[in-house]
Amino acid sequence: MPSVGAALGGGGATAAPAQRPRRNWVPYALLLPGLLWLALFYATPMVTLGSQSLQEGNVYDGFVFTGNLSVYPQALSEYWPQLLRSLGYAATATFFGLLLAYPLAYFMAQKAGRWKNIMLILVIAPFFTSFLIRTLAWRIILSDGGVVSDFFERTGLINLLEWLTLTTGGTLLNSKFAVMAGLTYNFLPFMILPLYAALERLDPRYMEAARDLYASGWQTFRHVIWPLSLPGVVAGTLLTFIPATGDYINSRLLGNTQTVMIGQVIDSLFLRVLDYPQAAALSFILLIMIVTLVALYVRRAGTEELV
């Protein structure tokens, strides 16, 4: 996946100054401990994960490597709904995340003036507090008889959600709606910050120039602001989509049995059912799917500087 590497390294590769070319061992010495750690505890586990998926047996009698690939079609045929659902939920959360994050990021970067720093603090601070507790707070916010559920009922929005099969039984909690709202919420800072970084670099004179050259507000956005913010959009969508796909905290705490995501399946196969090969196979499938999607996306978006 050269494009994935380029996505990360683009900035560095071009910015690397021509320095001290003689003392070549220095960068390797700097890299060694960190890369060794990643090799041992990121790369090696991928090998053992692959190996585990091709073993047969059980935790009590031990596993034997048989190289039986049939576990993959089995896992796929059994759990494809959860896999697809995870991708769907993650894509939805990414889409709405972008929709919500963009105006806030743009406002902070270009319009907030002296409020900029305060707003930035308010965006970052929740990100540093417990993910789980904030998700639990959504149970309170969306609970029956609460302000939000009241509002949905009065405006009839609840009927729309029911019609879209996003909720059932007239309650907001334990539904697709709650899971996707939670996912959108939880990964929003990951969307806002890269967008903010990209939009903050935007020289306001570009917008003035566009207006001067007869562009409407929308055309200015479409032809100037949006293209220039693309690196932020790509980084933000990736940082939202990837963790959201594997997440199961939201689906577990805010959903129901019909909203089970793939992470939940892998978790329970590993830790409850103890079917390691099947679990490892699913895990591997998830990884391949994500990496493929990310590689395609990065290539398509054609941005060099991601991180």
Partner: protein, 263 residues
């Protein structure tokens, strides 16, 4: 009407900000609740009991202590290793740069459930029992990439002429690093360390795959509690964390804006 139209963007921005902050507000309010049952989901009546005795919920403070310890160690090690890598990437030319970038990027492109489960298979095959050490190792691994990104951004934006100026003025490479490069990179390193700590402290999924019953971290405690009932004390901890984070971020902002103005 035109007033509303003109400020539409501001309203949208504030609404999103509210969406981000309301859960924290709810957590703060419900930390003063005296719930009727085991679940702290409905407002009953005001009580400061949980604030007066935050360790009242059995096991909570032990879990918190473990999370803090793991968080500090993981943040420290990841910051040191990540900073070294960031310096190599931002300041040197070498063969294997794209491979290095790929290895740094992959943990960020891998869902936590995959990293957690793959590490479990590694430790199982190596015959290493689960526990706090495994958790710490895992946390260092996934925090490292984020530190690299944070520090590299800062390092590659530094003017290389500043280092040349130091050498020109008689500073040897070590003095140049200590007196010029490191102080200038410090904000990036601090941001990386802070990020690493919060990622470690907050991680549930990877931790859960590698924990044993004797190594319950705070997020695991919250998760376990959510299955049986939610003690008000975890809302107290959540509020305190928010306040600490707010303070740290405010101080960081003040430092950096003072630097922008003065330095």
């Amino acid at each position: 009407m035109t007033w509303i139209k003109r400020h539409l963007l501001a309203f949208a921005a504030l609404a999103v900000l509210a969406y981000l902050l309301i859960p924290n507000l709810v957590v703060a309010i419900f930390s003063f609740n005296d719930p009727r049952g085991r679940y702290n989901y409905e407002w009953n009546e005001f009580s400061a009991a949980a604030w007066l005795n935050p360790c009242g919920s059995p096991g909570l403070c032990e879990a918190l202590g473990l999370s803090l310890r793991i968080g500090f160690i993981a943040a420290f090690v990841a910051t040191v290793l990540g900073t070294l890598v960031a310096f190599a990437l931002g300041r040197h030319r070498f063969r294997g740069r794209s491979g290095t970038n790929l290895l740094i990027f992959m943990p960020m492109a891998t869902p936590e459930v995959v990293m957690g489960s793959s590490l479990l298979t590694l430790f199982v095959m190596a015959g290493i029992p689960s526990g706090a050490v495994n958790i710490t190792i895992a946390h260092i691994m996934f925090c490292l990439s984020f530190v690299v990104v944070a520090v590299k951004a800062r390092v590659s934006s530094l003017d290389p002429r500043l280092e040349e100026a130091a050498a020109d003025l008689g500073a040897n490479p070590f003095q140049t690093f200590l007196r010029v490069t490191l102080p200038l990179a410090a904000p990036g390193i601090a941001a990386g360390a802070l990020l690493a700590f919060s990622l470690s402290f907050d991680d549930y999924i990877i931790t859960n795959f590698n924990a044993s019953p004797s190594s319950i971290t705070f997020p695991m405690y919250v998760w376990g509690a959510a299955q049986r009932g939610t003690p008000v004390e975890i809302f107290v901890v959540g509020t305190v964390m928010f306040l600490i984070a707010l303070t740290v971020v405010v101080i960081g902002q003040m430092l950096s804006s003072r630097r922008d103005r003065k330095a």
